[in-house]
């Protein structure tokens, strides 16, 4: 169904349609796994204008299957960017005021170096020889991009889900470079349940005979079936039981009776199949393995013996955390744990739990209370930063 999709071609198109930087030529990026990576490419997008003081930078961090195309038309999918509702001229993150930067994460497949890229050492795609990366590595690459662009510090780092993990990592790795941090629907460590879901997705990919041990590029195949199943399973976790009931219930798809077979009798099945089939037309299976792994490995307090408060000691960053009542992937308890640690570290922190039935994906959707809180926090912080008149 998706023979036309080629990750390398898509990646190149995404790179050319936007901006990219080749980094790590002088000094390579030392990854958590010990490998030194370089040179490597980071594809990114910017929206708005950098002001003279270079003080209006907002870094948006994308989630697992997102990319640098935050708003506007995506050059590969033709769809709107993932945060079209939030970022843009006159929007909550007003690109007439802020300079918004979003980079495709390391290991991704929209122009930043990842497993689908050609390994300069072998002339062949990396496949599974690509080093395992972490959320901290992703953030290191973004910090190198900022250095490259001559940007010292940022007004705000913001993102949901894995984007929220990057936000937290930014605040911990580069506390002096981050004025405000907004981790949304995030956690300080990936939970056992979430690692379990990721493992199901990865096993689905690896069980696809077209995967070829990750070397599908040289076999001229793509593990689309496995990747679609991975996406279907994951997609359920992004929604909520209430939302599924509201959207689909037990309604049948294009039929009035059960088929007594294994067609997509139910609307919810049809919906999931559609989600799976469109996903494989924009995402590389190996990237999915690497990025889910990065999330699994995420544990902000691992170096501090699990004491989360210690990672935030003396932080000057203002934090604003938000969670959603129906999010069972990154439940409110995960955000509260971070809030409590920030309180223990005497940090400036705000937090609210948004009541919604939209589940984890609520941060991408039209959620007025969430948007109102975000607006409030950003304007409050912007006034303190001198970006808005008091």
């Amino acid at each position: 169904m998706s023979e036309a999709f080629n990750p390398l071609v898509a990646s190149e198109r995404a790179r050319q349609a936007g901006q990219y930087a080749v980094l790590g030529t002088d000094r390579r990026l030392r990854l958590d796994c010990g490998v030194e990576l370089g040179p490597f490419t980071v594809a990114y997008q910017t929206y708005g204008k950098l002001n003279a003081e270079r003080s209006n930078v907002i870094i948006a961090c994308h989630a697992l299957t997102g990319d640098q195309y935050v708003t506007g038309t995506h050059p590969v999918t033709g769809k709107n960017g993932w945060w079209d509702l939030v970022v843009g001229p006159g929007q909550i993150i007003d690109t007439e005021r802020y300079f918004v930067l979003c980079a495709n994460v390391l290991g991704g497949c929209m122009g930043t170096t990842g497993p689908a890229e050609i390994d300069p050492a072998t002339g062949k795609p990396y496949g599974l020889s690509f080093p395992v990366i972490t959320v901290a590595d992703m953030v290191r690459a973004q910090a190198m991009l900022l250095d490259h662009l001559g940007i010292k510090d940022v007004f705000c780092v913001i993102g949901g889900s894995m984007g929220g993990m990057q936000v937290l990592q930014w605040a911990v790795s580069y506390p002096d470079r981050v004025f405000a941090a907004v981790p949304i629907a995030a956690a300080a460590r990936h939970s056992a349940q979430n690692i379990a879901f990721h493992e199901v997705g990865r096993q689905a990919i690896m069980a696809d005979r077209d995967w070829h041990g990750g070397d599908y590029h040289s076999h001229g195949t793509r593990p689309t079936k496995g990747l679609a199943v991975a996406r279907m399973a994951a997609h359920i976790t992004y929604l909520s039981e209430q939302a599924l009931r509201r959207k689909f219930g037990r309604r049948l798809q294009d039929r009035s009776n059960l088929s007594y077979g294994f067609d997509a009798d139910f609307q919810v099945e049809s919906y999931l199949r559609y989600q799976g089939s469109t996903f494989v037309d924009r995402f590389d299976a190996n990237s999915y393995l690497y990025i889910t792994r990065a999330m699994d490995y995420f544990d902000l307090a691992a170096d501090k013996g699990g004491r989360l408060a210690d990672v935030f000691t003396n932080t000057k960053t203002r934090f604003c955390l938000m969670s959603f009542t129906s999010d069972w992937l990154f439940p409110t308890a995960d955000s509260r744990e971070i809030v409590h640690a920030l309180n223990a570290a005497a940090a400036k922190v705000s937090f609210v739990e948004i009541v919604t039935d939209k589940g984890h994906d609520a941060f991408l959707l039209d959620e007025p209370e969430f948007h109102a809180m975000l607006t409030g926090f950003l304007s409050g912080a912007a006034r303190e930063r001198g970006l808005l008149q008091r």
Partner: protein, 212 residues
């Protein structure tokens, strides 16, 4: 569900907030529990350059506070105090909220643990008007400051000034300052007769600390 902040703060609280503000030294670290829409915190930040934090149950109030640039978390006094380290604040303020907590004794102990000083205000159920209503009508009192009917009130643990003083004594908490606010918003402090205050004060305002 714990309710911390009374649904609507009584009118006279403006006065009560100003009294509280007067008790706080400039530049202090302050935690306002049940901070509502952030009126006190903003006042303190602006006029006394305090380093303020807030806790508030209502989502819309948190939103309001955050929009004012205040650092406020959605939470409540019963559950969210244990994570703060001891002595984290110079002042911890609990205004018009104690009577709505599930476990007032435990909350008071947390206040004096977290703050060098705790400032607590509450409506006095020993006020003559309250007694009068109960005595004469045999109905739960509804007054200006206790504005809701018994079944609508978030105030699950009402107390009198005498009750409060007795509880502090039992918990080994020292009362370092007391202010009694009457119906007209006039305050009297210090050596005033507590027994009389229990009859005439609509609100009690206390500064507390851990003994020793």
């Amino acid at each position: 569900m714990n309710v911390v902040s009374p649904v609507a703060r009584p009118r006279s609280v403006r006065f009560d907030l100003l009294l509280i503000a007067d008790m706080i030294n400039p530049g202090a670290r302050v935690l306002d529990i049940g901070c509502g829409d952030g009126t006190l915190l903003e006042h303190l930040t602006r006029t006394r350059t305090v380093d303020g934090r807030g806790i508030e149950l209502s989502q819309s109030d948190v939103k309001e506070c955050v929009g004012r640039g205040l650092a406020v978390i959605q939470g409540d006094a019963d559950q969210d105090l244990s994570d703060y380290p001891s002595g984290a604040f110079d002042y911890v303020v609990l205004s018009q909220t104690l009577q709505a907590t599930r476990n007032p004794g435990q909350v008071l102990e947390e206040l004096v643990r977290i703050g060098a000083s705790a400032i607590v205000s509450f409506p006095n159920y020993g006020h003559w008007r309250v007694r009068w209503q109960l005595l004469l009508r045999g109905r739960m009192p509804v007054t200006e400051i206790l504005a809701e009917a018994w079944h609508e009130s978030p105030n699950i643990h009402p107390c009198t000034i005498r009750d409060f003083v007795e509880l502090c004594g039992r918990l080994g908490i020292t009362i370092t300052r007391q202010i009694f606010v009457d119906r007209k918003g006039r305050s009297s402090s210090g050596g005033a007769n507590r027994r009389l205050a229990n009859l005439l004060a609509e609100q009690g305002l206390f500064e507390l600390s851990r003994r020793g």
